[in-house]
Each structure stands twice: as C-alpha cells, then as structure tokens.
C-alpha cells in the first residue's frame, strides 16, 4: 500500500516538473495532457487507498529524516487515515477535473505550460499538507499552497490588479502564518514533538492556559488560510487569477485547509470548548457577513467567492461546536458544487469575452445550455435543496447548532441559508434568463468546448450524489474523529422542513424579483446597498488604517532614517578613509631618507605605546593583587 501512497503524493510533483521543462517554450498540449494524466493516476491511487482505509487499516510511512539535531527530530512522515484519505479524494478529484478543464480554458493563453506547472505544484503542496503526519510537514504544505496561490493569482502578472491581489493574499496569509508558527513552536516547546499522535496523546497534561493559547494561535493560522474575518479581504480579490485557479484553490481545496487544521487538531480543541465556541461564533458571523455582500455584488466570480467565504463560515461553526465530521462532510460536498459553480462561471466568462457583470448578460440559457444546466445544478446544491449534496451537509450543521442549544448561531445560519439561496439564484436569473441584454453590448456568446463540459460532469454527479453516502461517511471518519451526539431527534423533521422552506423561499423570491432582469437603479442610492457594495467599507478602512499610515511610515523611515542615519554613517566612514588617504599621500614622496625618518617615528611611537601599555597593565594588576 505504501507504493500507492507515494504515487498519490508524487505524481503531481512529477507532472509539475515535467510541465516546468516546457515553461519557456510555446504552448504544447503535452503539458496539459501529461499533468492531467498524472493527476488521474494520483486520483486512482487515492481511491485504492480509500478502499484500503475503509477496510479498517491506515498507512503510515516515514520517507526519510528531515531534521535531526539534539532532541529535535522531524521526519518526512506521511499518514493515510480516515481524514486524510477523504481530503486526498476531494483534492485529487477536483484537481483532475480542473486540469482537464484548463486545457480548454487556457487554450489561447501564452502561459499555457507555465500554468500547468504551477497548478500541479499546488496539488503536490496540498497533498503534503493533508498527508503529513506532523505539524512541521503540515506547515510546509501550508506554505507551499500559499506560494502556489500567489503564483496563480498573479498569473497574469502584466495586469497590475492581479499582482496587487497576489501580494495582498500572500501578505495576509503571512500574518496568519506567523501566529500558526508560534502555535507550533509552543507545542514543540511544551511537548517536545510535533508528531500528531504524540502531541494529541500528551496535550491533556499541559496547563489549561497553554492549551488555550496553542488553540488560539493555530486558529489564527486557519483564519488566514480560510479567509475568515478580519483577514477575509484577500479571497474576493484573489478572483483576479484564472477561473480554474479560483475553482481549485479558492473554493475547493486551499481555503478549506484551515477547516482541515481544526478538524485534524480536534483533540486540542476538544479540551478548550471556549475557543471552539469563539470559532463557531466567528464562523456564523462570517457566514452571514459574506452572504450579505454577495447579495448585491455585480461581479460573477466575486459573488461566488463571497459564497465560498460564507460556506467556510458554516464549516467553522460545525468544527467549533465539536461536530468535526459534519465540518468535513460539508467541506467535501462544498468542494464539489463550488468548483462546479466556478468552472461554469469560467465558461460564461469565456463566452462573454471576460465580461463578469451578470447585469450585462441575461438570457444566456439559449446560447449555452450545458453550462446553464450545470450551474443551476450547482446552485441548487449550494442552496441546500433535497436530494442534492448541500442539503445533507448544510442541514447537519444547522442541526448541530440547534442541538448544542446555540439558538443565536442557529438563527444566523438559518437566515444565511435563505440569503445563500437568494444570491445563487439572483446570479442564475441575471445571467441565464430574462431579456438578452448582452446583445446591446455586442457580445456573441458561444458554448465551451464539449470536453470541458464532460470534464465538469463528474463534479455535477458528485454534487448530486455526495450527500447520499452520509452513513458510510460517518462510519468511515468517526473511527478517527469523535462522533457527535444529536439531541434533536424529536424536532429533526421540523428543522429540516424549516431550513428547506427558507431555502425555497430564497430561490423563489430571487426568481420572482429578477424574472424581468435587473432591478431599478434607484435601489443603488439606498444606504444598505452602498454599505454592501463597498463590502462594509472594510477594504477602505484597511487602506486608511493600515496601508496609508504604513506607506507614510515607510517614507519617513526611508527619508529620515535610511538616508540620514544609515546611509550617512556608511558614506561618512568611506569619506573619512578617502580623506585620510588624500591628505597623507604626500608622505609617499619617494625620498628614501624621509621614509627612513617616518620609520623611526613609527618605531618610537610603537615603543612608547608598548611601554605605556605595559606600565598600565602592571599598575592595574598590582592594584588587583
């Protein structure tokens, strides 16, 4: 079984290196095909591992020693257990689909080969992240996906907005990663190991406040990667990258790494329910907060990005309340339908020559039936309508909130479920139905290549059926994760009915409101609209509070400190030496007798110094005696 583990892990790396060989040459389909093929191999290996794990085994290997100094011993160890194999399946399925899709999507791009190299490198990093058996390896994968995310957001580096967004994402993640690193250091400092099994076995022996701090620091790391408030602004801006990147990295895999961390560290969070409650509250807040921003946005990809943010909030609610398997379940289901939604948005974007404003579309259904159907399917799944995947997973999260008697959280999530349904169908209605407004703007939409639609179909199938395997899933993951006791059997049917009702209400009201196209523009003078379209003014506040003062500070440091102190000192030393040389070079007049005189003077000076020092030294020593 170990060989499958290595294949699953290293196939993406091989693909990435292979594509990198063609980095500087013109586009060749080989790179796309080989990387997709290797990803598929990785997927098959993961599937074999899944069946092996389902039979009750786990695979644990140590590839080699990574660091060994003194008491520090960190191996390159990998583990395939119930949780990591789930993540591996999600990552490899979505990335295989996205790779095949990208062959069509990036068809006309000059950076075709480079794109595949980055994308496969990302998958490799993600695999390291989920498969590592210690926190150090997880951190390496964590940084690896951050780097690949930076490379891919800024893929079109000639666009200033893209490089800006890439840097924003990278810097925000860096802030969070620092906290995570502190958490890892604290763990090592107190426990002397970073292996999951050792840490989790001994964490209970530590004093309470240390566990709390470790939990908080790790969660700050998760907040950055999963774009939770207040580090959320980068995710919407990350939509500058190519759409397959948004689908793979900023919807299905990388942003869920934070949730994965909390799930993986469940023995830590089980000990500190207060931190867990904070996580859940923040998650519920973000779910609502992001959903409201999605209501009014006029950028297709940003709407979906906010939706991702909101769904990540849902996952954190479940994870924070101790229902780790529910969080993992929603993570999986969400990966499928959200990636599908993004890929559909990519098709629309291509059809509309990179126009993203759904208000300028309308009636695209006739031109692109396949994409429309897939996107509607994904939206229904996202809204949580029976029997699609979102229904099962999202409903469980609401049930968890209700069962643990956090009714405020439940209420927030319940309203958010309605908002989710509403904004999803607002997008669908604006883009695919109603008057064909795109004709006024001179667009000629066309359907994507058939193989792109075929590549998307596995995701569509999974978005439909993923929820049906709930019981198998529970059986699989609860061997590793703690189970969750629901106390809501008596009201379960009512809860499901209420949730489905608000989702349906959201869908129907969206359909009715946007049946005839976009709303009147007089809406846009409304104060609520202004707050929402400006993302609660948070980017502006960050700009005013952090960016601008920092710029001022930097300028001050440059002009006052760097130029006047640092540079001046260095220049001063150089000048002094130069001046001394200038003034003393007359000594070197070539006259031997004057040289001899200088020699004698030097000798005398040295003698005097020697005598003086000896006398001084003796005086001090004698005093000491």
């Amino acid at each position: 079984m170990e060989v499958y583990l290595y294949i699953a892990l290293f196939a993406p790396l091989v693909g990435s290196l292979f594509a990198a060989l063609f980095g500087a040459t013109p586009k060749t389909y080989i790179t796309g095909i080989v990387t997709s093929g290797l990803l598929f191999t990785s997927f098959v290996s993961s599937a074999i591992l899944l069946s092996y794990v389902m039979s009750g085994h786990t695979v644990h290997v140590e590839l080699m020693t990574w660091m060994a100094t003194g008491d520090l011993y960190i191996p390159f160890g990998f583990v395939v257990d119930q949780v990591s194999v789930t993540m591996m399946m999600v990552v490899t399925i979505v990335s295989t689909v996205v790779h095949v899709y990208s062959i069509g999507y990036m068809d006309h791009d000059k950076g075709f080969n480079r794109f595949f190299s980055y994308l496969s490198a990302f998958v490799f990093s993600m695999m390291v992240l989920v498969m590592s058996d210690n926190f150090a390896g997880l951190f390496i994968g964590w940084e690896g996906v951050g780097l690949c995310s930076w490379l891919l957001i800024g893929f079109w580096y000639h666009k200033e907005s893209a490089t800006w967004a890439a840097n924003e994402a990278f810097i925000m993640n860096r802030i969070a990663d620092l906290a995570m690193l502190i958490g890892i250091f604290m763990m090592y400092w107190n426990l002397g190991s970073l292996q999951y099994d050792v840490v989790f076995a001994n964490i209970g022996n530590l004093p309470m406040h240390i566990i709390t701090w470790i939990g908080i620091f790790l969660f700050i790391g998760a907040m950055g990667k999963s774009a939770q408030f207040p580090l959320h602004t980068w995710l919407a801006d990350a939509m500058e990258g190519p759409t397959p990147v948004s689908a793979l990295i900023h919807a299905a895999t990388m942003v869920t790494a934070g949730v994965y961390l909390v799930i993986r560290a469940n023995p830590i969070y089980d000990l500190i329910p207060e931190v867990g409650y904070f996580i859940a509250s923040l998650g519920a807040f973000v779910a609502m907060f992001a959903a409201t921003m999605a209501l009014v946005n006029r950028d297709m990809k940003r709407i979906i990005a906010y939706s991702t943010l909101s769904q990540l909030g849902y996952m954190f609610v479940a994870a924070g309340l101790g229902a780790y398997w529910v969080a993992l379940f929603h993570l999986m289901a969400h990966a499928f339908f959200k990636a599908l939604l993004f890929l559909g948005a990519g098709n629309v974007m291509h059809a509309m020559s990179d126009e993203l404003d759904p208000v300028k579309m309308g009636g695209l259904y006739k031109a692109m039936k396949g994409t429309a159907i897939l996107m509607i399917l994904a939206s229904v799944a996202l809204a949580g309508i029976w029997p699609l995947a979102g229904f099962f997973s999202k409903d469980k999260i609401l049930e968890v909130a209700f069962s643990s008697e956090h009714y405020i959280l439940w209420g927030t999530l319940w309203i958010t479920a309605g908002l989710t349904a509403f904004y999803s169908f607002r997008l669908i209605m604006l883009a695919f139905f109603g008057e064909e407004r795109y004709k006024n703007f001179g667009f000629h939409p066309h359907e994507a290549y058939p193989y792109m639609l075929i590549a998307m179909s596995p995701l569509a199938v999974l978005a439909v059926i993923a929820g049906w395997f709930e019981h198998d899933f529970i059986r699989l993951v609860t061997t590793l994760l703690p189970g969750y006791e629901f106390h809501t059997h008596h009201v379960e049917a009512i809860l499901i009915a209420v949730t489905s009702l608000i989702a349906l209400t959201g869908i129907i009201s969206a359909i009715l409101m946007y049946k005839k196209g976009p709303l009147d523009t007089k809406w846009e003078n409304n104060i609520c609209y202004k707050i929402l379209i400006n993302q609660y003014f948070i980017p502006k506040i960050y700009d005013e509070v952090f960016s601008k003062p920092y710029l001022k500070l930097s300028k001050l440091a440059w002009k006052e400190i760097d130029l006047k102190i640092v540079d001046a000192t260095v220049d001063g030393i150089a000048n002094m030496i130069y001046q001394t040389g200038e003034k003393t070079h007359t000594m070197q007049n070539g006259n031997l007798s004057s040289m001899l005189r200088w020699m004698v003077i030097g000798l005398v000076v040295l003698l005097v110094l020697a005598v003086a020092f000896t006398a001084g030294y003796n005086a001090v020593n004698l005093q000491a005696m």
Binding site: M587, N589, N591
Partner: protein
C-alpha cells in the same frame, strides 16, 4: 671600578642613538650602511651583556645569528650599491625617487 651591566646597556644605548641619527641624517648610501651596522651591533652588545648577566646563552646565540645575517645583508647591499653606482654615477639618497607615490 667594576664594569657592570649598566655600563654595557648605556654603551648599547649610546651606540643605538648614534646609529639612529646616522640613519636619519646621512645622505650617502655607504654611510647609511655603516649606521645600520652600528645599530645592529648596539643590539648585539645589549644581548650579549644581558645573556651573561642572566647566565642564559640564548642571547649570545642570537648575537651570533645577527652578525651572520648582517654580514650577508651587507654583501647583498654593497652588490646593489655598486650596480647603482655603475648606472648613475652617484650614491646620493635624495636622488633615488623612483618610488614616489
């Protein structure tokens, strides 16, 4: 009057001073060699005297080394001096300015 270590050291110092003044004031290259010899020999006297005073023969051994090295140095130096004289017809120190910086 007995001749003590002090007498030897005073002699050595006087000779050193004479040599030093010679090195500084003389312009004739040959005279410079003489002055150098006086300097070296003043050191030799000091070494031999202290060596005797302390009953340690290391100093006298050094004096012998210095005599040998001084002899070879003078041999080389005089050779160079003769070559220089043949080329320029002078042995005046102030005229050797080819090392001007």
């Amino acid at each position: 009057m007995e001749i003590t270590l002090t007498h030897y050291l005073v002699l050595s110092t006087l000779l050193f001073a004479i040599g030093l003044i010679g090195v500084m004031r003389r312009k004739n290259l040959l005279m410079l060699f003489f002055a150098t010899e006086i300097l070296l020999n003043s050191v030799n006297i000091g070494m031999a005297a202290i060596s005797h005073y302390r009953g340690d023969y290391t100093g006298q051994m050094f004096a012998f080394f210095i005599i040998a090295i001084a002899a070879s140095e003078v041999a080389v130096g005089l050779g160079l001096l003769i070559v220089w004289y043949k080329r320029t017809g002078k042995i005046d120190l102030d005229q050797m300015t080819s090392m001007r910086g």
